[in-house]
């Protein structure tokens, strides 16, 4: 009996200890290296000049913007601890975080940030943020930790723009050469990783910055290797040559989801892009609103996204996803309803003409287009697919020579840049983004009102009207969001990304990842 008791006791002890042992292995560990395969090589070592979206994602390891945007899209303090905006929106005062160190060991002060802003505003430097900061008159360091930005005019997006390193990032004063000459090494940043070396075509190496003011990275080192081809990238991951890859082809992700590929996990960026159907509203047949609404009602978004993205993508009916701060659940969508579509086609006087649907070659437009073609056939609409090379398609779109087209979209931090696209511009050559030719005075007035509004509640009310108006007029129909996938070997833990697929978003990314080997 005593023996039995002691065995029981040991068993009970073991059972009590085992889960805690398991939990211990789930605790982040320091050390190790993550080798990551990226789709595009770095081009230059100037953090204020952009060359590709991948380039900005790489730089986010080393450089930081003034403010942060968290995973829900809210603006948070970062290098600036707090800020005040004057009533007329023309003066921003930022109180900077004290004790923030550059990788060089020097403390960051307001003078450094003023330098970065001045550098960006000089048109000769070709800085990417030049346009983002076009409302800025001048920057001023009133003391070591206070930065004032004087504006030429109010810009409701200004704080949002400052959450992105592409507007500007903190670098030490006088650390960049003037003009188009580019530095031969990166200036020091303030981010969680510091630059070690870059061997073009081979590898870029970063080490953890131990004096980082925020969440310090767990891994000692991150090595990035460029593998341009997506299939090769995934093969290298499977072969164990890299630990983490970006932009994994959907067919492989599907196999991971279905359990056919073992030992590999994934992180999803759900809204890395958007897919829309856009109508040329200046010419027949889509100058008729009912015709556009009919097509919208004939679309089965789920089927389109399933066919083109292996069921990994979400459908959309507005520019922002369901549940987002800027999604309006009370604005009714034009739902999939073939009967309504048929009725609207009749009302619009559609006589069976062939409609031409345009798309870009090489994207998923072929599959999406074929699915839409089949869906429209069910309601009696004949569609011919016109797939062009990107440059030719761009040319046709610029000339306004298309009936309707499949188009991509990016993710927006704020509704204003997303909806300002549809403001009237009658001359197709001058159109920046509104290729549909949509021109509505009421819509333009709403956007104008939104541009001048600072109050968040009032802004929300205005944008609800904007969305409702756009939904009713339907120059554009949202179909879905395109995801992007990071995949990694099982020993990489804690890696997550944001909706747009950044390597180092605020509150996630590589400085939260650790290696369990």
């Amino acid at each position: 009996m005593r023996k039995l008791l002691s065995v029981g006791l040991i068993l009970a002890l073991l059972l009590a200890v085992l889960p805690s042992l398991h939990a211990a292995s789930a605790q982040p560990k320091r050390g190790g290296t993550i080798t990551m395969a990226i789709s595009k090589e770095l081009a230059l070592m100037n953090p204020l000049v952009n060359t590709s979206s991948t380039e900005a994602r790489i730089r986010e390891l080393m450089f930081e913007p003034l403010l942060a945007r968290d995973l829900k899209g809210a603006i948070q303090p970062r290098l600036a601890e707090s800020w005040e905006v004057s009533k007329d929106g023309k003066l921003y005062t930022f109180k900077l975080r004290k004790g923030v160190k550059f990788h060089s060991g020097k403390e960051m002060t307001a003078d450094d940030l003023k330098y970065a802003i001045d550098y960006t505003l000089n048109p000769k430097n070709g800085a990417y943020g030049y346009e983002d900061l076009n409302a800025v008159d001048r920057a001023e360091a009133t003391d070591k930790y206070t930065l004032r930005i004087h504006m030429k005019r109010h810009n409701p997006l200004f704080l949002t723009l400052l959450t992105d390193i592409r507007a500007f990032s903190a670098i030490p004063k006088e650390s960049l050469p003037e003009g188009l000459r580019k530095p031969t090494t990166f200036p020091a940043g303030t981010g969680p990783f510091r630059f070690v070396e870059w061997q073009p075509g081979q590898r870029i190496v970063f080490d953890r910055f131990d004096e980082y003011w925020g969440q310090k990275a767990y891994v000692d080192r991150v090595i990035m290797k460029e593998i341009g081809d997506a299939t090769v990238r995934f093969t290298a991951l499977q072969a164990g040559d890299v630990d983490l890859i970006e932009r994994t082809p959907y067919e492989w992700v599907q196999q991971i989801v279905e359990g056919k590929i073992k030992g590999i996990g994934f992180a999803k960026a759900a809204q890395a892009g958007a897919r829309n159907l856009e109508f040329n509203v200046t010419d027949p047949p889509f100058d008729n609103k009912k015709m556009r609404q009919a097509i919208a009602h004939a679309l089965d978004r789920k089927e389109i996204m399933q066919a083109a993205y292996f069921g990994l993508a979400d459908t959309a009916d507005q520019r922002f996803p369901v549940g987002h701060f800027w999604y309006f659940a009370d604005v009714p969508m034009l739902q999939f309803d073939p009967n309504k579509a048929k009725a609207l086609l009749k009302e619009a006087g559609y006589k069976g003409e062939t409609l031409e649907l345009m798309g870009n070659r090489g994207e998923v437009a072929e599959i999406e287009g074929a699915t839409i073609q089949a869906q429209l056939k069910r309601v009696g609409v004949k569609v011919e697919l016109k797939i062009f090379e990107r440059a030719s398609a761009l040319e046709l779109r610029r000339a306004g020579k298309f009936m309707f087209k499949l188009a991509g979209g990016s993710d927006y931090p704020d509704p204003l840049p997303a909806y300002v696209e549809y403001v009237c511009e009658p001359d197709p050559r001058k159109r920046r983004l509104n290729e549909t030719g949509y021109c509505d005075k009421e819509y333009d007035a709403l956007i104008k009102k939104a541009e001048g509004e600072v109050d968040p509640a009032k802004r929300k009310a205005i944008f609800k009207q904007v969305v409702a108006k756009l939904m009713d007029d339907s120059p554009i129909v949202s179909i879905g969001f395109t995801p992007r996938f990071f995949t990694f070997r099982d020993h990489v833990k804690g890696f997550t990304t944001n909706a747009s697929g950044d390597f180092q978003p605020w509150g996630a990314g590589l400085n939260h990842a650790w290696v369990d080997k």
Partner: protein
């Protein structure tokens, strides 16, 4: 006389090089894309990001506001001084970028050349000496397969087999043979097999045909009649004479290898000139494309010259005029 021939040949190269430079310069300008936007990293579809003021300032700085012939003359006068311009994206000298990448391409080309010759010579000889037997059919089957097979497919199949299934060799990466010869061999093995096969396939057929031709010659019959051992007849007599003709094929293939294989370098993430060219094309980095294509063209022309010279050296009967 030999020197005169050489000078004459080099003199003939000048119009070729001028034509190549004009073609490269014009082709790059016909491709859609705006160098100013490339430099800023702005997609043509988001042209609205850049103000007219900034655009003008940059265009002037880059010299793209001048007439095209002025740009060409400026470009050529710089090339003559060994300056290929600055990359639009990285703003580093193109010359420096290309020669940073060139060694990797050369090392791979030489390895592939060795692999190719090591496959082609024995296969060609066996096929010729055992004409119309199983060995001959197998060798010709290999040659046909090698020519027909797309490089990228063979590359992916080798990666699947040797990296993924067996785990013997790395799928991507590079190490310099001067720093770490063993790691270089590990990394170069698969790409060299792919490029070597590509070279070996036509070469095998060429050697076989040439060997068959030689084996029918009187001097070979005499060698057999003298009672020379067959190894001697085949290798010392027939093969040696067959190789003269093979020099042309090997020479042209070497020029191709030295231009860097865009596909193989991309699949294996090999940091060579071929991949640089592809990256340049994708990102519309004109100076890089111009520089890389010019380098490849010059390599071709130069190797052609070398082939002619070697030819003369191998077969003194060849007339120089």
């Amino acid at each position: 006389m030999f020197v005169r021939y050489l000078i004459q040949r080099i003199w003939q190269l000048i119009p070729v090089l001028i034509l190549v430079s004009v073609a490269v310069f014009l082709i790059v300008r016909v491709i859609p894309g705006d160098p100013v936007l490339v430099m800023l990293g702005i997609d043509p579809e988001e042209r609205s990001r850049i103000s007219e003021e900034q655009y003008q300032a940059l265009q002037q700085q880059l010299g793209f506001d001048r007439p095209i012939y002025v740009q060409y003359v400026h470009w050529v006068s710089k090339i003559v001084q060994g300056d290929l311009g600055l990359s639009l994206r990285s703003r580093r000298p193109v010359f420096e970028i290309i020669f940073e990448r060139y060694p990797a391409t050369i090392y791979l080309a030489l390895t592939a050349l060795l692999v190719g010759i090591a496959i082609a010579i024995p296969t060609g000889v066996i096929a010729a000496t055992r004409q119309n037997t199983g060995a001959d059919y197998a060798a010709m089957g290999f040659a046909l397969w090698g020519i027909a097979m797309p490089n990228f497919w063979l590359a992916l199949m080798l990666i699947v087999l040797f990296s993924l299934k067996l785990g013997w060799l790395p799928s991507i990466g590079y190490a310099s043979p001067l720093e770490n010869p063993l790691r270089f061999l590990q990394h170069a093995c698969l790409p060299a097999i792919v490029m070597g096969t590509d070279l070996a396939a036509p070469l095998t057929r060429y050697i076989r045909a040439e060997m068959l031709e030689q084996l029918k010659q009187d001097y070979v019959r005499t060698a057999w009649a003298k009672g020379l051992p067959s190894r001697m007849v085949i290798i010392k007599h027939a093969l040696k004479n067959s190789l003269i003709a093979a020099v042309t094929v090997v020479g042209l293939q070497t020029a191709r290898l030295l231009g860097g294989s865009t596909i193989v370098e991309t699949v294996f993430s090999w940091p060579g000139v071929g991949r640089l060219l592809i990256e340049g094309i994708y990102s519309r980095d004109y100076p890089i494309v111009q520089g890389a294509v010019l380098l490849i063209a010059v390599t071709y022309v130069f190797i052609n010259l070398c082939v002619d010279v070697v030819y003369k050296w191998l077969d003194p009967r060849i007339k120089l005029e």
